[in-house]
């Protein structure tokens, strides 16, 4: 019954949406601000990758909101997953152990490779396709592979939290510095440099580095939270949370050694 009505209404919705989109002309959208940005972006920001200049320049605050969303998601995830009751599950590590060796070797192989790729993508975000998010994801993968390989050892959450916090903070601080220089919030700083070179486009690369580090740290934290038995998920809390979790992490340490 429910399915039938759902299908009926969904087909209606599809039909209506197609009727709407049929009135568009493909490639004929007005794109007023698009045009203007294509005209002005290069002078204003001096980034070869105009998408980057939109992401970090014209719509910088969107990006701020976006990394905030990632941060919120990982915070909420750890809030959901960290439950005080799962002391025992930290010890039990079923699965994945047997075929660990292959993964381990491949991980130790991939780790530097992925790191370099990720950093490269981040640093060239204002010149070539790619940038903070893509590079960040790759960094996360780099950090995460070893975890898959040797399930026993957890990620150093407090370190991740440190990176994450300072990266995000630096993004905002760069914006606020502009504010104190009498410019607008998140207004790009420094000169443009000569376009196309690595050191161009003012503070955009810095912003992208911040984004990349933050995304990488958050994602790897998130992955770790999902991967580990969530008892270890509380290690972030170990400073702040109650004694019981302290001993949880103690147990975790024991099992590691």
């Amino acid at each position: 019954m429910r399915n039938i009505s759902a299908l009926v209404f969904a087909s209606g919705l599809a039909f209506l949406l197609l009727v709407i989109t049929w009135q568009f002309i493909l490639g004929g959208a007005p794109m007023l601000i698009g045009e203007a940005i294509l005209q002005q972006a290069a002078e204003e920001l001096g980034a070869a990758n105009l998408v980057t200049s939109v992401v970090l320049g014209y719509r910088g605050i969107d990006t701020l909101g976006e990394i905030a969303i990632l941060f919120t998601a990982s915070t909420a995830t750890s809030l959901v997953l960290s439950s005080i009751a799962e002391k025992t599950s930290a010890k039990s590590k079923p699965g994945l152990r047997d075929d660990g060796t292959i993964l381990a070797s491949s991980a130790s192989l991939f780790f530097p490779l992925l790191m370099t790729i990720g950093l490269y993508i981040i640093l060239h975000g204002h010149l070539t396709p790619g940038g903070g998010f893509q590079g960040g994801v790759i960094l996360a993968a780099a950090f995460f592979l070893p975890l898959l390989a040797v399930p026993g050892r957890g990620v150093n959450h407090s370190g991740l939290a440190l990176v994450e916090g300072f990266a995000g903070a630096s993004f905002i601080v760069i914006g606020i510095i502009a504010l104190f220089q009498g410019k607008a919030f998140l207004q790009p700083l420094f000169g443009h440099g000569e376009m196309g070179s690595l050191l161009s486009a003012g503070s955009l690369p810095l912003l992208y580095i911040a984004v990349g580090l933050k995304v990488g740290a958050e994602l790897s934290g998130l992955l770790a939270n999902l991967a580990e038995p969530s008892g270890n998920g509380d290690e972030t809390l170990s400073a702040t949370e109650s004694a019981s979790t302290e001993q949880t992490s103690m147990q975790a340490e024991k099992t590691k050694s």
Binding site: L16, L17, I20, Q23, F24, A29, P30, L32, I33, G34, E35, A36, I37, Q40, E44, G57, Y58, R59, G60, I61, D62, L64, G65, E66, A68, I69, F71, T72, A73, T75, A76, S78, L79, V80, S83, S158, A161, L162, E164, G165, F166, G168, A169, I172, V173, G175, I176, A178, L179, K183, A184, F185, L186, Q187, P188, T236, L237, A239, T240, E241
Partner: protein, 493 residues
């Protein structure tokens, strides 16, 4: 001097740093949040004082419509001031569980401020998403099984809603080629066609998930009855209003045709009917209040669907009234969460709470001279002035709903005030913390009662200002017009 950006930047910054701070010192975690909120309040109020006419702020120094701009008028600044205020009132001062809830609340504050201030469609979408994710985390913070399940259903429906909203934004962008609200307002003529209107419909349905608009509010009773009362108070009192605010901005700027209004009116009427009827049937306070808040938001929607200043004034009045009353009511459900039958003798165990309940209930029913009555009066006169059959039907629905509201609220009140057994009194005792906060809300209500005249004047001023489409457009686009926008402006004016 556009430091209003701090209202978005500061809470996010603090939230980012909170894990580090908390690993440093636990006590710092306690007071840094409230401190930041106070700062936000100060910024907002500072602007509120100096503001003569609406102001637009170009973020990143890029002129709108190219860059993103904040639009500061009395309404948005009022919201921006109310956000930290509500947060301060509903802050988990007695929270012993680490930093996570605090940082989520700070993120919520930043997102809410951005939502209230932003003048860019996609930026609004981003802040809306941030708001959603933070509220998911808070809704699940109770960590009970039911809370997890309810939050999951909440995530799913509001995720679908954001998909619809994004589709609507894409349609608008394809149609107009811009995202800035003021610029969209310039090109509003291109949106008065099926495409533009259906984009509006998609956005309303999508954003409406948070605004508790009728068919997409299935999450409301579950989440409000599983989350902790503070969070329910926050969601019902503040967050829903911000979602409504977005819809209002779109309505004022781009969609002043009668069709869009009709959609809102119908949705609002259905919301009233469904909410109040369900509340009539509900057997415990939490769900009664969540259903009644659905009904109340339906009334808000009906109010905003009245064309012109009258509708705007009525809507804002209803919004603010609900913003004060509902959190107070939710705070009372902390220890009165049993079935209503068991509330006998609650008045003797904590009389102040009973008095507050009565006060809020009367104001919600709209008993003069309490503020709720004046809001309802504005609504009634507006509906009669609108003078169209659909609006008259809405009037009938509204009045009938009021009778139903009176019935269930009063039957509860009579239970509370009737004599009960001594042995239940311990259970019905209110915690001093909640009671204090609820008392503050009640005091605000009474204060509003004694300052009705100035409030009314201010309200009219805000309404006329925020329902003025050309003012909004001028404010944002007159910063320094990029050439290709200039001729459009000249075309319109």
């Amino acid at each position: 001097m556009n430091n209003i950006a701090f209202n978005v930047a500061l809470p996010l910054l603090t939230a980012f740093l909170l894990p580090i701070i908390s690993s440093g010192s636990k006590s710092a975690t306690r007071f840094v949040g409230p401190f930041v909120l106070l700062a936000m309040l100060w910024f907002a109020l500072a602007y509120f004082n100096v503001l003569q006419h609406p102001v637009a702020i170009a973020l990143g120094g890029f002129l709108p419509p190219l860059g993103i701009s904040f639009h500061l008028d009395n309404l948005s600044l009022l919201m921006a001031a109310l956000i930290p205020l509500m947060m301060l009132l509903l802050w988990p001062y007695n929270n012993r569980e680490g930093f996570r809830e605090e940082s989520l609340l700070l993120l919520l504050a930043g997102a809410a401020s951005g939502l209230a201030l932003s003048g860019d469609l996609f930026n609004i979408y981003v802040f809306y998403e941030l708001l959603s994710v933070a509220s998911f985390g808070l809704a699940a913070a109770n960590r009970t099984a039911a809370a997890f399940a309810a939050t999951f259903r909440y995530v799913i429906i509001s995720g679908l809603g954001t998909v619809l909203a994004l589709t609507g934004i894409a349609l608008i962008y394809t149609q107009t080629g811009t995202l800035n609200l003021a610029h969209i307002g310039l090109l509003a003529s291109q949106l008065n066609n099926p495409v533009g209107l259906s984009a509006f419909a998609l956005i309303v349905i999508g954003i409406g998930v948070k605004a508790e608009i009728f068919p997409v509010n299935g999450w409301v009773p579950e989440v409000y009855s599983t989350a902790s009362p503070r969070i329910s108070a926050l969601l019902a009192g503040l967050i829903s209003k911000l979602a409504v605010l977005v819809i209002i901005r779109l309505l004022v700027v781009a969609y002043q045709g009668s069709q869009a209004l009709t959609l809102l009116l119908v949705l609002g009427m259905l919301g009233i009917i469904w909410g109040e009827l369900s509340a009539w049937h509900s057997k415990d306070l939490k769900r009664m209040f969540s259903f009644s808040s659905i009904g109340q938001l339906g009334m808000v929607l009906v109010a905003f669907s009245i064309p012109g200043d009258a509708g705007m004034a009525a809507g804002i009045a209803m919004m603010l009234h609900h913003l004060v009353v509902k959190p107070g009511m939710f705070l009372l459900t902390e220890n009165w969460n049993g079935p209503i039958k068991k509330l006998k003798g609650a008045a003797t165990s904590s009389p102040l709470a009973a008095f507050l309940f009565m006060l809020f209930a009367l104001s919600m029913i709209g008993v003069p001279p309490l503020p709720g009555f004046w809001a309802k009066l504005l609504l009634v006169t507006g509906l009669v002035e609108a003078n169209a059959p659909l609006y008259i039907i809405a009037l009938v629905v509204l009045l009938t709903a009021t009778v139903i509201e009176a019935h269930y609220l009063m039957s509860t009140a009579l239970k509370i005030f009737s004599r009960g057994k001594k042995k239940h009194f311990k259970k019905l005792l209110q915690t001093p913390f909640n009671l204090t906060i609820a008392t503050i809300f009640g005091a605000v209500l009474l204060a509003a009662l004694f300052t009705l005249t100035p409030l009314g004047n201010k309200l009219n001023q805000i309404a006329t200002e925020s329902s003025d489409r050309s003012l909004y457009i001028k404010t944002t686009l007159s910063l320094k017009l990029p050439p290709q926008v200039k001729q459009q402006v000249s075309k319109v004016q």
